[in-house]
Structure formats: C-alpha cells, structure tokens
C-alpha cells in the first residue's frame, strides 16, 4: 500500500505532531519506503501462531495495596513548563 500525504498528515495529527510542509513531503517518502520494507512480514503464514509481546514472557506481579511514600507536590511540579503554587498550568481546555 502507498501512504498519501493526506494519510501522513492524519497520522501526524493522531501523534500530535505539527509538521512543516517540507517535513510532510520528506516523511511521506520515507514512511512509504519503510512501510514497503516491513510489508515483507506479510509473506509469512502465521496461522495459528500466538503473538509474542515480551521475549521473556512476563506474568502479573501482585503486591499488597499499601500506601507508600509518593512525590511531594513541590517535587512533582518542579519540572513543569508553567505552574502556580499547586498545579500545572495549560492553555484553556473548555471555552
């Protein structure tokens, strides 16, 4: 399959990336080359093969639901791009 510029623009929006027109052009070409390359996976008949999500198959690890020390507010806010005394500040969410 070939990805059009519109397809790539849609993926970029889903991925929350704002692309310059030059980037959209370049990424469309490069993503098509990569998608064409990975398409060789389709050659393999994988009927009946279970997907493998981890090489070392991991199991759920349970523990008691006990409260442990957490980051204090000041530490949590320390890397905020914008903040006030108690919260992260973001542009308006609801008009």
């Amino acid at each position: 399959m070939a990805l059009t510029r519109a397809d790539v623009a849609k993926v970029a929006y889903l991925a929350r990336l704002r692309l310059e027109p030059e980037e959209l052009e370049r990424f469309t070409g490069q993503l098509n080359a990569i998608v064409e390359f990975v398409a060789q996976l389709q050659e393999l008949d994988t009927t009946g093969v279970e997907p493998l999500a981890h090489g070392i198959e991991v199991r759920n690890v349970f523990r008691e639901d006990e409260r442990e020390p957490a980051l204090d507010r000041e530490e949590a806010l320390a890397n905020a791009p914008r903040r006030n005394d108690e919260a992260f500040l973001v542009p308006v969410v609801l008009e």
Binding site: L44, T46, A53, H54, G55, A78, N79, P81
Partner: protein
C-alpha cells in the same frame, strides 16, 4: 604508580586495595584526560568534576578508616544520559528534555552509588536511544576514537567512545535493538546486553519497554562481568525484572565452559557483510576450535524478518511511551502555538500547544518512529502490521529455542560493517536500520548477547564478535567470551588519540 587511564577497573580495585593509588588520584587522572581529549571525542554531555572528586575522596576516607567499601569503590563509571539521576540533568539527547531534572533515581544508578562507583559524567546518545550513530543527538554527534571522521555507533555511542578513549574504565548503556553491542563493536570494546528482566529498567527513560535493557561496557570481559554483577537483580520497582538469583559472574570466569558447542549462524554471513569483518569472525571461530570448542552450523531461518518486525514493534511501543511528552507536566513547551493555517484554527488551543511542543522538542528520527508506530497501531492497520509483527516475533524466538537445543552459544559478527562515516547513512533511515541486522533479533527474543573485540581492519577500525546465549545464561556467555580473550590480545589494543 600505574597510569590509571591505561588500566582496567579490576586492576584499579586491586591497586587501591594495595594502597598504591587512591580513588581521588584515579578520578583526577580521568578528569584530566577528559579535559584534554573529550573536545575531540565528545563522548560526554556533562561532567561534574566536583561531585566526582567529592565522591572519590569519600571512598578514600572510608578505606583509610578501615570501613568496608563497595564492589566498584573508586571506579569511575560513565552513564548514558537516558538513565535518571535524581536532581541532575537527564536529557536523552533531546531538546524535549534539555532541562529535565528527574525527581527520582534509576535503580541502576542507586546500585552503582551503593557499590561506591564514581559517577563521572553523562554520555551522549541518539535522541531517546533511537539510532545507530549518535548523529540523532540534539547536542551533536560523538566521534569514534579510532577515527574521528567516523561515528562510534549508537545509540550508546557516547558510553562506548568514553571507554574506548580511556575517558572512563567502565560505562553503562541501554540496548533496545543493538545499542550496546553495535557501538561496542565499532569502538573496539566489550558490551553486553543482558537478558530482558535481568537488570531493572526503573528510571531508564522508556523507548520500547518490551525490548529495552540496561547493560555494561568495559575494556575486557572481566570488567564487564564485574559491572553486570553490580547492576543485575530483581527490583520491586520494575515488575518485568525477574526474580532469578544473580550468580557471581567473576567466580568461574576463567573456566572454559565444559564441552562448549558453538553455533555458527548461517544467516549472519549473508549479503551486505563486509569482507574484512567476515574474515575476522571466521578467524575467531578457528580460535574457538583450537581451544577445543565444537563448532556446528545452525540456522535461524526467520532472521531476515528481524528488522521488519523490530521496526513495527519498537516504533509502536515508542509512539505510546513518548505520548507523555506533551508540554504539560515536564519537558519542552512551545512559546507560540497560534494557528498558522485555517485548518489549525479548528484545533483547540491545548492540542495546538501539545503539537507545537512535540514538533519543536523532537528531532526527525523520533518523529518518524512515532508516526510509524502510530500508523502500525491505528484502526484498520493494527492486525496487518502490529499483530503480524508479534507473531513473527514468536517465530524468531522459536528459532533461537531450536538452535539452543543444538548448541550452547551462537556466534557471528556484531555489525555488518566497521564504523561508518558521518552522513553516510544519516539521510537514509532504512540504511541506518540495517546496521542492526545481526543484533535486533536478540532483543525480540529477550535473550543475552555480548560483543567482544576480534580484530582490526586494514584501516585500523575495530571489528566485533557477537556471542548469544539463552535467557539468564550470562555466566556461560561471559565464560565463553573469556575463552577467546585469553587466546588473543585484541581487547588490549587502544586507539591513538593525539592531544
């Protein structure tokens, strides 16, 4: 006194124990060498000389007072800058995290501090560990100490270059598809990717969580084993770390594995393999035969699907992991996110802020992988791409399982070529991806792998030999690597760096 910058970590421990050198003298020697040479190599993003010296003096004081000191007491260790150091910059080679100071510490960093290692500096990497040359670092590429016109490999290129140039005797890196082994090969040192779950990933900035693993670099197998022993082990903070006992990797290191059977992987000697690399690897196999190993041809028939499967699985996980960088909680936020087109006017301001922040904060390779992963996971394509890749991943692991019923350790080249020049592959993502052709399947299968120096090309570029072992067989892997090292002196070669 020996020159500490021409020694191994193991010998520096013995010299300190014997009172012939102090941790402070060792630290000063490396800091002086970094000062003199790192302007050329650019292995480090940051060196905190004062903190390193203070830590070294503290080790000396405790040693003088007769207190017990840790397994890496007074040994400088260079740290890849995707490992969180509490309160200290951890950038991942990205503009996105240029000012990030984590409020917590990676488990591996805590273990190094507890072992009295001296954290000498944070090393350069491809942005978010995505790349094979360090050319994707937002802060400029590192250079290969053997030829400054060439890349050190990547993504842990800064860590590998630091050890190769004797700017630190040990370093820590991370390996998602070859990011420890490939730079180790290209820089002529030893680099080990442990089994998935062997080392806690807590505090490693996530790229592809089912593939990422932290591991050690050293000049020789003993130093690498020493560092692995310090960082390995289960950690309650990482639910994927595995509760298997950590053997004493040094105890029997010099004993060759009994009745060693080596598997020569047919698929690792195909098209694209440099002739000098192939000759050195085949010569290494002869060294093993002379040492008594039985060598068999084995096949990993799905190897050629490793890169395609990896470039679905890794970007899919990356697109999910990197969704957190949206300019709200930490990381870069764009100043200006006003709509630039009529279309953008319909996008709410919060989303525009996120989009602008991510576009300014991430470099091209990271954007490419995020988009590739988003595409592979998107409605209508997930079955065809992502789920198919996971099924192929199982076929790849089944290949390894079958091979390890025949032999103990697999052998082949680490990288198809020696170190390449800057710009040689930077404009063609696929060409860059193929430099990991022999390493990615290890990560997909979760098993352990090591690269050790096994030769130099006519142009004096290092060549790496890759050895692979089943899950949690690091001890066997290290002892097998040591068999080759005892018979050769490639691990003692050093680049000529003019000051």
């Amino acid at each position: 006194m020996i020159d500490p910058t021409r020694a191994t970590a193991s010998s520096l421990l013995a010299e300190q124990e014997a009172g012939r050198v102090t941790a402070e003298e060792i630290c000063r020697a490396y800091l002086e060498r970094i000062e003199r040479l790192d302007g050329q190599v650019k292995a480090f993003l940051r060196v905190d000389a004062d903190a390193a010296l203070a830590a070294a003096r503290a080790v000396d004081r405790r040693r003088r007072a007769g207190e017990r000191v840790g397994a890496l007491a007074g040994i400088p260790v260079a740290i890849k800058d995707n490992l969180c150091t509490r309160g200290e910059l951890t950038t991942c080679g990205s503009r996105m995290l240029a000012n990030y100071r984590p409020p917590f510490e990676a488990t591996v960093i805590g273990k190094l501090r507890a072992a009295d290692a001296i954290l000498i500096g944070k090393t350069n990497l491809d942005e978010f560990a995505m790349g094979s040359s360090t050319e994707n670092s937002a802060f400029g590429a590192s250079r290969n100490p053997w030829d400054l016109e060439r890349t050190p490999g990547g993504s842990s290129g800064g860590s590998a270059a630091a050890v190769a140039a004797d700017l630190a005797p040990l370093a820590v890196g991370s390996d998602t598809g070859g990011s420890i082994r490939q730079p180790a090969a290209l820089c002529g040192i030893v680099g080990l990717k442990p089994t998935y779950g062997r080392v806690s990933r807590y505090g490693l900035v996530a790229f592809a969580s089912s593939l990422d693993q932290i591991g050690p670099f050293g000049h020789d197998v003993r130093d690498t084993a020493l560092l692995l022993g310090v960082i390995a082990g289960r950690d309650a903070a990482d639910a994927t770390s595995v509760d298997e006992p950590v053997p004493d990797y040094l105890a029997r290191l010099d004993e060759a594995p009994e009745g060693l059977r080596l598997g020569l992987v047919r698929e690792f000697f195909g098209e694209g393999l440099d002739a000098e690399v192939e000759a050195a690897v085949r010569e290494a196999v002869r060294v093993y035969e002379s040492a008594g190993a039985v060598v068999k041809d084995v096949s990993l028939p799905h190897s050629r699907y490793g890169i395609p499967a990896y470039y679905i699985v890794a970007p899919a996980e990356c697109s999910s992991n990197l969704a957190r960088y949206d300019g709200t909680i930490f990381g870069h936020r764009a100043e200006n996110y006003e709509p630039r087109t009529a279309e953008e006017e319909s996008i709410p301001p919060l989303i525009r802020m996120m989009m602008a922040s991510r576009s300014e904060g991430f470099g091209s390779e990271v954007k490419r992988r995020i988009m590739l992963g988003t595409f592979a996971l998107s409605a209508g394509y997930a079955d065809q791409y992502y789920n198919q890749a996971l099924k192929v991943r199982r076929l790849i692991r089944n290949d390894f399982d079958a091979a390890f019923r025949e032999v103990d350790v697999l052998v082949g080249p680490t990288s198809p070529t020696p170190a390449f020049r800057f710009g040689e592959k930077a404009s063609d993502p696929l060409a860059m991806y193929l430099s990991d052709i022999y390493t990615v399947t290890t990560n997909l299968a979760g098993i352990a792998g090591i690269s050790i120096p096994c030769g130099l090309t006519r142009a004096q570029l290092p060549i790496g030999l890759q050895l692979l072992a089943p899950a949690f067989a690091e001890e066997r892997l290290l002892r097998t690597a040591r068999v080759f090292e005892r018979a050769t002196d490639w691990h003692q070669r050093r680049p000529n760096l003019a000051s």
